[in-house]
Subunit: 741 residues, 2 copies
């Protein structure tokens, strides 16, 4: 899909104003103390606004889902109480269908970027890959509304991923400061017109997303550090922490309001907070073996899930490529299939008699509760319906609840597990905002509860605890995070005593799953074709030098260059950076002056500040420009060389590029080991890395390395024998049986 | 004090075997799959061992302190029940004196490196500064035993800092694999003989330290990430998490044993776990203003604490410099002063009548409990003694406990706060292992409880909660961490619902305190003279180029160098790395071949594999060496050039340095901005950075940059005018009044 890679900007790693590192302009815009104060103040204000907005949206999201889905379930349940089963099914299926159709239509026609969870896109952005349109206003609106519709439609999708994307969108849009087109920019926001500050804001935004989805501020922070961010600084932790603290406070305040019953059907269900706190959550070393087994199976299931999801997404991609109509039909078919399963399966379960000593009414009245009546006689309840004919949040609460060990049958939990497993794989790839977190949690929880039921009295742990551990193991097996998942689960269940067990389960399941395949988000990123730059060098890279992978003809400019030349090169190449070389008489011998960016060249051409003769301009050059001209552009359409229209006369004039050149580009010698060059490229966060020749005397630049030159696909394309080397990844290959799928 | 800076090794950033990046030997030792498996296996085994050992030591530490201090308090309390006050004081003071003397003597005579908390030393090491002897076996033993003695001696010192140092020591020693001298090395440990793997292990060790001190596995992990580690990778999070999970499991198992009463006086007191869980821990937005005020004052107090601590440490340094006797006298005086205060102050408090409805016995029997009798009549208790005449752990528990709002008087809490504040400042600098965490927590908790008492019924929060928040604010004001402190406090109090409030308090207090001065550990590091490299470039560095700061005569070697030359240069300089240059006839023009380390040159000289004539040796050169020869040495005495004794004849021979040279050193052009060079140096974790000239034709190397060249003191020494520039740090200067101190 999206393959444009407008990556991170090397200048922005060291300062906020990319352009102004050039020799003449070391005194940057942020020169005065006032500017520093403005910048610091704005940094925190923006984080505050991100926290506030994401908190509000997260709450509104929950409120809408709880009410939409709530009304649907109340109406259908009431009909079933009156034995009008067909009518109930129709109401259920049609409302699901309409909601899915709505979500699919707005996604397909207004913002296809809003489909899916959005976490892979944000993760790739934070690594330096700009997929077009992922942070536009349209995407934001479609993501919020579409996610509400898709979740309310009882599709097996979550809202955590979309909330992360929403948070990132809000951060990006706030940092961009409205739109220049509509005159909404603000002078104080000019400091954020560069890649580094934007990346920081978006990291905070994604932390806020998870924080508001699970009411888990520390979990959200850790998630953004462990999974999302490619670069990390202590200062960023602090700001992200502030953002998630604001989210937590906002949610706390709003829930205070809702507890007084002003939020319609928003009951205990919203903003998942499962209290597994019970007196008997004690556990001993003798329980550890069961937990280990749970972790191992969870890891295997998780990697199987990733494997199947990838296959399904490949098939879906073939369908979706055919056009919007196919996309929408696919989404609608999934909706109908889901409705049939959710309504049909509970009929398979036998009705259980209501327990005598239950504290809850049985059968449940309204929409939540452990005892759904469904088709049963009065005094009986359908345990499968309590799980399956319910919102995911309520299902998770039912599974996590303690002291309900005898309420479910083996078969019901097993059917529920299988249904969730299949439906969540089938639902992710449709053209609607769809998260993976909640489906994975609910699937894992049902798996865990089933294991707990199988073990029965062999273990001291109650089934609710097993469900929590099952969720942990399945999350570890798919998402492959450790600390952040652990904290998110602790914050969800509000029981710190579970910590050691959850830790062990996560470690085991991640280790097991890593033997088979990768992280689910990495798989999706790969499917989408994002050139994600990993943090470590592959072993075979140590056997290559930089000179081995530099390819293609190198385009350089002279310090003072003819306009027609610049236009010609910009039109015929797609490079984003060009080395600037000074030759005699400007210097004694050819010497590398620096690196200029395509975007800056286009700005120079657009302003037409040309010179009639080749001469040096010095700092006067800047009088034609403001800092805005060279600031990183917003998320709209970038300037293109084709938009520049010059006369014959102008084409014959000259430009002094020196003042606009980054005179301190990072360089490596051509004999440098590729692995070491990658470390430099990745750790410093570069977009271009200049290669200089080892032996002086020849041309001063030997080539230019970009992200694509470090991609394993590129290198292995050049040196196919490397694949067969002993450096292959340590990974168990799935048996051929699975390949047949 | 220690200023040797044997920093991180650039080679080790990309591979495990530093030497073998040279052209001829790209096929490194880890070439075979078996080696990779061995390495991976050992990595996890070492983490397991670190977790296990640190967990055991943390538990033993607690057990010893609880029993030593417990016996002391039980004996004195029993004497006081019999009204033998003078005798009680003597027993108390003498036992404290003896324990302090013991701790001071072993520290002063066996391992002065074990004095203090050890966190600054470990933090500096992880930044690349090797202080000599901090990870020796002697230091480890003195740290453990000395810490037990010092804490049992009722000094106002903690055991968390020493446990971090202990964890780091254990990690370093395990990674080193015993001692070569005693034949304790193991072949599989050869992979860890380099800076990068050692740093990783030590990061895990320090995480384990905090985890075992507070039974806070996630808090420990975050502490090591936020405060300790200078480089951070996702993979490291996972391993550190595993380590702290092991610690948590070990502690859990051992506490299971202790709960059955087999641990002597180790009661609820050991391994601080304060349950503030109470039904009425609800809070509302109306409480936020009080919390803000608490945070602001806490921040001011925290920065004042840091300020005073620095002044006291400066005075102590003057005393300690005079010799071991002075050190020990200082420690003993502090012990006597402490004993007098702890025993004397409770007499100032008026006795309170025992509450009628108390669930605990009043006055308390044994050593813990809220109702110490001290000098009071039967039926009465001394509230100040309950706090002050107690271990710190018990005092914290008393302060944190809910539903005890009426048990203390204003004056008692205020006196306790002032005592803790002063004593902890006075106690830190003595020659004994001494942590800061627990003293800061107890001081902050008393401050918070006092504020809670002042507010009385104006706030809905109970005083125990105020104590927790006060501890948070004071921790934030001194340590300046956010996320890790927040999680540690949550794990300590086991109440996740406090999260938003603690977050807000920490943010406020850190922000306020940052306006005045720095982190307490940074202050101590600066006092100790460690050249700590910060993560960001100072603004004035943007105005300088690399060429502006390169100093001193540059020593280079030729690819084939005469032995006498090498010996001469090594004897006359202290450099740790030397550029290797090839000249005609080896190349057409002088060309930079690479960089060789001092340690490797000494190894070459020691092995005496010299050539009679200048010639190239190729890979044959390695047949005289094993990988061990070039591996990073252990923590013992490094090889010195003065140990090498060569004959006249050998001095006239030659060495081909090519096979032993790192042929891919990182380089920057001399016109590179200093700020950007610092980013490269810091992010990639270099020890040497070669500067190459901009214009080719001259000598191929213009200089070499090391850590010291990036130190602000060095740069501002060269360019004093920079200090006066507008780039000064944004920091409120403390009023002159305080300077008088």
């Amino acid at each position: 899909m999206a393959t444009e890679t407008n990556n991170t900007d090397e200048e922005s790693q060291t300062q906020t104003q990319p352009l102004l590192e050039s020799h003449q302009h070391r005194q940057s815009l942020r020169g005065s103390l006032t500017n520093i104060y403005q910048y610091t103040f704005m940094k925190w204000v923006l984080c505050f606004l991100i926290g506030l907005t994401v908190g509000l949206i997260g709450f509104a999201d929950n409120l809408a889902v709880e009410n939409l889905a709530g009304v649907k379930f109340v109406i259908t349940s009431n009909m079933m109480l009156e034995d009008r089963y067909l009518m109930a099914f129709l109401v259920f299926a049609v409302s699901n269908f309409v909601l899915t159709l709505f979500a699919a239509v707005i996604t397909a026609f207004f913002a296809t970027e809003a489909a899916g969870s959005g976490i892979p896109e944000v993760k790739a952005y934070l690594n330096g890959v700009d997929a077009p349109g992922i942070f536009s206003i349209r995407t934001l609106f479609v993501k919020i509304i579409g996610s509400i519709a898709a979740v309310s439609a009882s599709l097996q999708v979550g809202k955590a991923g979309p909330l992360v994307h929403t948070g990132a969108c809000i951060a990006a849009l706030l940092g961009q400061g409205g739109s220049k087109k509509y005159g909404l920019t603000w002078r104080w926001l000019r400091f954020f017109k560069n890649d580094r500050d934007r990346r920081d804001l978006i990291t905070c935004g994604s932390a806020a997303g998870i924080a508001s989805a699970f009411r888990a501020p520390i979990g959200g922070l850790l998630f953004s550090l462990e999974e999302m961010a490619s670069w990390w600084r202590s200062a960023l932790v602090w700001r992200a922490f502030f953002t998630t603290a604001i989210v937590a406070l906002v949610l706390r305040a709003l829930i205070d309001v809702c507890l007084s019953g002003k939020c319609g059907l928003f009951g205990t269900g919203g903003l998942i907070m499962f209290d597994v706190t019970s007196e008997d959550s004690a556990y001993h070393l003798s329980d550890v073996p069961y937990v280990l087994v749970l972790g191992v199976i969870g890891g295997i299931l998780g990697s199987l899930y990733n494997f199947l999801l990838e296959k399904v997404l490949r098939v879906y991609n073939l369908i979706n490529e055919r056009g919007a109509a196919y996309k929408i039909i696919l989404a609608c078919s999934i909706s109908i299939f889901t409705s049939c399963l959710l309504f049909g399966l509970p009929w398979l379960a036998t009705c259980l008699p209501c327990p005598q000593d239950s504290s809850e009414p049985c059968p449940s009245i309204g929409r939540s509760g452990n005892f759904k009546k469904f088709q049963c006689r009065p005094g009986y309840y359908n345990d499968l319906a309590s799980l399956i004919f319910n919102t995911n949040d309520d299902a998770i609460r039912n599974l996590f609840s303690a002291n309900t060990d005898s309420e479910s049958q083996y078969s019901s939990v097993l059917i529920f597990f299988a249904t969730c497993f299949c439906l969540s794989i089938l639902s992710y790839g449709i053209v609607a905002p769809a998260g993976l977190f909640v489906p994975v949690i609910v699937t894992g929880a049902s798996y865990g509860r089933f294991v707990g039921m199988l073990l029965g009295s062999n273990s001291n742990l109650n089934h609710g605890l097993f469900a929590v551990l099952g969720a942990a193991s399945f999350l570890g097996g798919t998402m492959r995070m450790t600390v952040s998942l652990c904290v998110i689960l602790l914050e969800l269940t509000n029981n710190l005593l579970l910590l050691p067990l959850i830790m062990v389960v996560l470690l085991i399941s991640k280790t097991v799953a890593d033997a088979f395949n990768g992280n689910v988000y990495d798989l999706i990123m790969k499917l989408k074709g994002f050139p994600y730059l990993k943090g470590h060098a592959e072993p075979y890279m140590r056997q290559l030098t930089v000179a081995d992978v530099v390819t293609g003809p190198l385009q350089v400019f002279h310090g003072i260059e003819k306009v027609s030349n610049i236009v010609y090169v910009l039109k015929t190449t797609r490079h984003h950076g060009f080395p600037i070389i000074d030759e005699p008489p400007l210097s004694e011998s050819p010497v590398l002056y620096g690196l200029i960016l395509r975007a800056h060249l286009i700005t120079l051409l657009k302003r037409r500040a040309f010179l009639p003769t080749p001469m040096l301009t010095g700092t006067d050059a800047f009088k034609h420009f403001t800092a805005w001209d060279f600031a990183k552009k917003g998320w709209g359409n970038p300037d293109e060389i084709d938009d520049v229209d010059l006369t014959e006369e102008q084409m014959e004039m000259f430009l002094d590029l020196h003042p606009f050149t980054n005179a301190s580009p990072y360089t490596v010698v051509e004999s440098m080991s590729l692995a070491k060059a990658l470390i430099l490229f990745r750790e410093v966060g570069l977009r271009h890395l200049l290669v200089i020749p080892k032996v002086s005397g020849r041309t001063p630049v030997a080539g230019i390395l970009t992200r694509h030159d470090f991609m394993p696909e590129h290198i292995l394309g050049l040196y196919p024998l490397m694949v067969r080397s002993k450096w292959k990844r340590l990974r168990v290959q799935l048996p051929r049986l699975l390949k047949l799928f």
